[in-house]
């Protein structure tokens, strides 16, 4: 349904460029399949707005050529930005914010108690995620409109891979710190060293792609049932 969302977003602008009757014809250009990362969609929408505005100022064959190019650019931009958005927002920023929020909760707990820790958890997570993400979503609409068909070239100038890598390394460090603090504080049921070993084994299973977290949980429940049935616990 992303195409429908894009059409809804573009409708006022297309009405401004083409008039009420022309905007329906313009909307038909955007009714096909459209799929990209939701936080990158504003950049594509901005680009489309800019190109539609330019096309509306042209006539005849020049207009048709512009519109054809606009359609191809929209599809290409959506696909390229989808990969970047998935790696940056879902794959890096979201777990980074989760690790940061956990550490904030651990830091707040001694001074502010359980309620303060919960408050710190929620506030830090939302602030750490939404400030850059919403800021990007707003700014990228502007950038897409400004760059128009120069978007592909300008995207290459942004060091996405470097940013993703730095976020992942920082996040990994925070995650290891959070894990160490949690296990030292007694997060596991079997003592610190055995809990650390169990966590390492779980991590190995995840890395070996042998299991998802839900499957590891199910396996642990099954192991607990077997141990209880055998009278071991």
């Amino acid at each position: 349904m992303q195409a429908m969302g894009l059409m809804l977003a573009l409708e006022p602008w297309l009405r401004r460029c083409w008039g009420a009757a022309g905007s329906r014809e313009a909307l038909r250009r955007h009714e096909g399949c459209f799929n990209t990362h939701p936080f990158m969609a504003p950049m594509v929408a901005g680009m489309v707005c800019g190109l539609e505005e330019e096309a509306a100022a042209l006539e005849g064959e020049a207009r048709d050529a512009k519109l054809k190019r606009s359609s191809a650019l929209k599809t290409a931009a959506a696909q390229a930005l989808a990969g970047i958005g998935d790696a940056l927002f879902w794959g890096s920023l979201r777990p980074f914010c989760a690790a940061l929020a956990l550490l904030a909760a651990f830091a707040a707990a001694p001074a502010l108690g359980a309620a303060g820790a919960v408050g710190a958890l929620v506030f830090v997570y939302l602030a750490a995620y939404d400030i850059p993400a919403l800021g990007w979503r707003w700014k990228s609409l502007d950038l897409g409109y400004e760059w128009k068909d120069g978007l592909a070239v300008r995207l290459k100038e942004i060091p996405w891979q470097s940013l993703i890598k730095r976020l992942r390394y920082a996040g990994a460090a925070l995650a290891l710190a959070a894990a160490a603090i949690a296990i030292a504080a007694g997060a596991g049921p079997i003592g610190r060293a055995p809990s650390a070993l169990a966590a390492a084994l779980y991590l190995l299973a995840l890395r070996a792609r042998a299991a998802t977290a839900e499957r590891l949980y199910a396996a642990t429940c099954a192991a607990g049932m077997l141990a209880a049935a055998a009278g071991l616990v």
């Binding site: 349904m1 429908m4 909307l27 038909r28 997570y125 390394y169 990994a172 429940c221 192991a223 141990a227």
Partner: protein, 201 residues
């Protein structure tokens, strides 16, 4: 309306933030869990279960048309069971929440099939020169999605009592197994968090 039903309705609306509207992360379990927990009288349980679901889900990203289990619905369902009228023990509420999350993923798949047909209708309407009234269409689809989520959470609330009975009378080894699962859940969650970075492939 009791707090549990109000919480179910609120969670059904907040679920739209997952992918359909907003996406300002208020639907993430790490946020929704404490909020729902506080509303139902136990923010700490809400935060703990919310963090578990949040970290469990970090490895499952909704790419390539894949629909992972809905951890927002999972967290809401678990908290409705644990802190609602049923007072299901947390070790039973947690897997029940996972089951609700998987059920919602199936519901989401049905909704996506419906929306493909809706896209075709929109195209045909535009081709005929008529106004497809996009705002109305989008609003009605969002309302339908929220209603579907509410029905699922309502079913969870209704099933809470019988589930609590079943768990109370379950064999000791089964109860012990679920207790073990929840006891080790922090370690699984922390491993999932570390694994989600995968800086060395």
């Amino acid at each position: 309306m009791t707090p549990a039903w109000i919480a179910a309705a609120a969670a059904a609306i907040v679920e739209l933030d997952v992918a359909s509207a907003g996406q300002v992360m208020i639907s993430r379990p790490i946020v929704l869990g404490p909020a729902l927990g506080a509303f139902l009288g136990d923010a700490v349980t809400g935060a703990v279960l919310g963090v578990f679901y949040e970290l469990f889900s970090l490895g499952a990203t909704p790419v390539g048309g894949r629909i992972p289990l809905n951890v927002t619905v999972a967290a809401a369902a678990a908290l409705l069971l644990a802190l609602g009228p049923a007072r299901l023990p947390a070790e039973a509420a947690f897997p029940a929440g996972l089951a609700a999350g998987f059920a919602h993923a199936r519901l989401e798949a049905l909704m996506r099939t419906r929306r493909r047909a809706l896209s075709s209708w929109t195209s045909a309407t535009l081709a005929a020169g008529r106004d497809p009234k996009l705002r109305r269409v989008v609003f009605s689809e969002l309302s339908l999605q929220a209603a579907g989520t509410f029905v699922l959470l309502a079913a969870v609330l209704v099933a809470g009592g019988p589930l609590a009975e079943v768990f109370t009378h379950a064999p000791r080894f089964a109860q012990a197994g679920f207790k073990a699962g929840l006891a080790f859940a922090p370690l699984i969650a922390l491993s999932s968090l570390v694994h989600s970075f995968r800086v060395v492939s």
